[in-house]
C-alpha cells in the first residue's frame, strides 16, 4: 500500500469528455481508452505527482461525497492496477 503510483505524462494523453464517460487517447500506443467513475475521478486527483494509494483515497474522500462504509483504498488499488496493466499508470520502482 506504500508504493507510489504516477499517471503517464500529460503530453502522452489526450482527454475528452463525453457524457457519463470520458475518453483517453494514448499517443504512445494509439489506443483509445474509455473510462468511467471512479477511474475518471482517480485520474483527476492524481495530477502529475506520484502518490500512494492511501493519499489518493484521502484526496478522493475529501473532493467527493463517498459513502462511509466503502473501503475507498481497496477500490483505488484495484483500479490503479488495472490502469497499470493498460500502461496508463506506473508504479514507482518497476515497469
Amino acid at each position: 500500500m506504500h508504493e507510489k503510483y504516477r499517471l503517464a505524462s500529460s503530453d502522452a494523453l489526450i482527454h475528452h469528455d463525453l457524457d457519463s464517460m470520458s475518453l483517453i487517447f494514448d499517443r504512445r500506443s494509439g489506443i483509445t481508452h474509455m473510462i468511467a467513475d471512479p477511474v475518471t475521478a482517480i485520474i483527476e486527483v492524481m495530477g502529475d505527482a506520484a502518490a500512494s494509494v492511501a493519499a489518493i483515497a484521502e484526496m478522493l474522500s475529501s473532493h467527493f461525497d463517498v459513502e462511509q462504509e466503502v473501503d475507498v483504498a481497496e477500490i483505488v488499488l484495484a483500479r490503479l492496477e488495472e490502469l497499470r496493466d493498460l500502461g496508463l499508470v506506473q508504479r514507482e520502482g518497476d515497469g
Binding site: 499517443r27 504512445r28 494509439g30 489506443i31 500502461g87 515497469g95
Partner: protein, 339 residues
C-alpha cells in the same frame, strides 16, 4: 506493362530513376511495392522529389501509415518489457521493431508485423508464464503444432494479446533447430546492447547475421526484396561507422555457421541495390545468383506473383532447408491429413 520488380529495385537504388516512369507505370510500381511490403521504404526514399500529385498523396499516406506502425511496434515492445520486468535476463528486440527502436536507417518506412523477441532458452518457461499472466494467449491450442514447435522450432508457438490483438514470437535462437547451421544465441544475448528503456537489441554483427538468417531461412525468398533491403540498410550504416565492420562480421558469421549465407546475401544485395561490399566477397556461382534474382523480381505490373516454376523450385528448396527429408514428409503428411 512492367514485366517484373526491376523498376522498384531501381527506384530504391537510384530515386532519380523514377523520372522516366509514365503515369500508368507509376500505378504498376505502387502495386509492386505494396505487394513486396516496400511501399513505406519507397515513400521515404522518394521524399523531396517532384512527383505527380496522386502519387505523392499515396506516398504521404504510406509515410503516415508507417509512423503509426512504428508507434504500435514500440508500444508492444514496451508492453513486453513491462510483462517481463521480473524475469531475470535480457529481452532482445528483433527485426523491424529493433530497427525502429534503435533509430536505424533500415527501420525507416519498414513494415512491421509481429513483435519478435529473443530470450535465453532456460528462461522460456518463466517468459511463457509471465506473458500468459500479462494477457497473451496461445493462437492455436493444437497439441500437434505445439509439440512440433517445441521440438523443432526456434521459437515458442505464437501468442496473441487478448485485448490489443497483437502477436508476439518468442525466440530462443534465430533458426529452426532442424536447419543445418547452428547459430550461437548465447553469444547474441551476451553482446546485446541495452537501449535507454531497459530493452536490448543485438550487436551490429549479430543483427546482420540474424537478418541474413531470415533471408535464407525463408528459403523460398518470399519477401526477399524487403529482407535484402534491410540487409542493405544495416551493412551500409554499420560499415560507415566502423571500418572494421566487415572483418568483424566475417568472424561473427563464422561463429554462427552463417558465413556462406552472409556472403551470398551480400552479393545479392550488391547486385540488387548496389550495396558496397568487400571486393573479395563478390565471387560466387553466377548461375545460382541469376536464378535467385529471377525469383526475387518475379512480380508483374498488377502486383501478381509470376514465374510460378521458379517459385516452386524455391519453395521445395525452402522446406528442404528447414527440415531433414523424412521429417519433411512427416510434416507435410500431418498437415495434409488435418482439415
Amino acid at each position: 506493362m512492367i514485366k517484373d520488380a526491376t523498376p522498384l529495385i531501381d527506384a530504391l537504388r537510384d530515386p532519380q530513376s523514377v523520372s522516366a516512369l509514365g503515369d500508368g507505370q507509376w500505378s504498376e510500381l505502387i502495386s509492386i511495392a505494396r505487394a513486396e511490403s516496400l511501399i513505406g521504404s519507397l515513400a521515404h526514399r522518394l521524399r523531396g522529389l517532384d512527383l505527380p500529385d496522386r502519387v505523392q498523396a499515396i506516398f504521404d499516406d504510406a509515410i503516415d501509415s508507417h509512423e503509426l506502425v512504428r508507434t504500435q511496434a514500440l508500444w508492444e515492445a514496451d508492453c513486453s518489457r513491462r510483462a517481463l520486468f521480473y524475469v531475470e535476463g535480457k529481452t532482445v528486440l528483433m527485426k523491424g521493431t529493433a530497427y525502429v527502436a534503435a533509430g536505424l536507417a533500415a527501420g525507416v518506412g519498414r513494415s512491421i508485423g509481429d513483435l519478435d523477441i529473443l530470450v535465453a532458452k532456460d528462461k522460456l518457461p518463466l517468459v511463457e508464464e509471465a506473458l500468459l499472466d500479462a494477457g497473451w494467449e496461445w493462437v492455436k491450442p493444437d497439441p500437434y503444432d505445439d509439440q512440433y514447435y517445441r521440438e523443432h522450432m526456434h521459437e515458442l508457438p505464437p501468442m496473441i494479446h487478448r485485448e490489443r490483438d497483437q502477436m508476439i514470437d518468442v525466440h530462443h535462437t534465430i533458426l529452426p533447430l532442424t536447419a543445418k547451421p547452428m547459430p550461437d544465441p548465447q553469444k547474441m544475448l551476451e553482446d546485446a546492447v541495452e537501449l535507454a528503456d531497459g530493452l536490448f537489441i543485438m550487436a551490429p554483427v549479430d543483427m546482420t547475421c540474424h537478418c541474413v538468417a531470415h533471408v535464407m531461412a525463408d528459403g523460398d525468398f518470399a519477401g526477399g526484396l524487403r529482407n535484402l533491403w534491410d540487409f542493405h540498410g544495416l551493412v551500409t550504416e554499420f560499415s560507415a561507422h566502423n571500418v572494421q565492420f566487415w572483418q568483424q562480421l566475417e568472424q561473427r558469421a563464422q561463429r554462427h555457421q552463417l558465413l556462406q549465407h552472409v556472403r551470398w546475401a551480400a552479393v545479392l544485395s550488391h547486385q540488387l541495390y548496389g550495396t558496397a561490399i568487400p571486393e573479395q566477397w563478390s565471387v560466387g556461382s553466377k548461375i545460382r545468383d541469376r536464378l535467385t534474382l529471377h525469383r526475387l523480381t518475379a512480380r508483374d505490373g498488377y502486383g501478381r506473383e509470376t514465374r510460378k516454376l521458379t517459385r516452386l523450385i524455391f519453395y521445395i528448396r525452402s522446406h528442404w532447408l528447414r527440415m531433414p527429408p523424412m521429417m519433411l514428409a512427416k510434416h507435410l503428411w500431418t498437415k495434409f491429413r488435418r482439415p
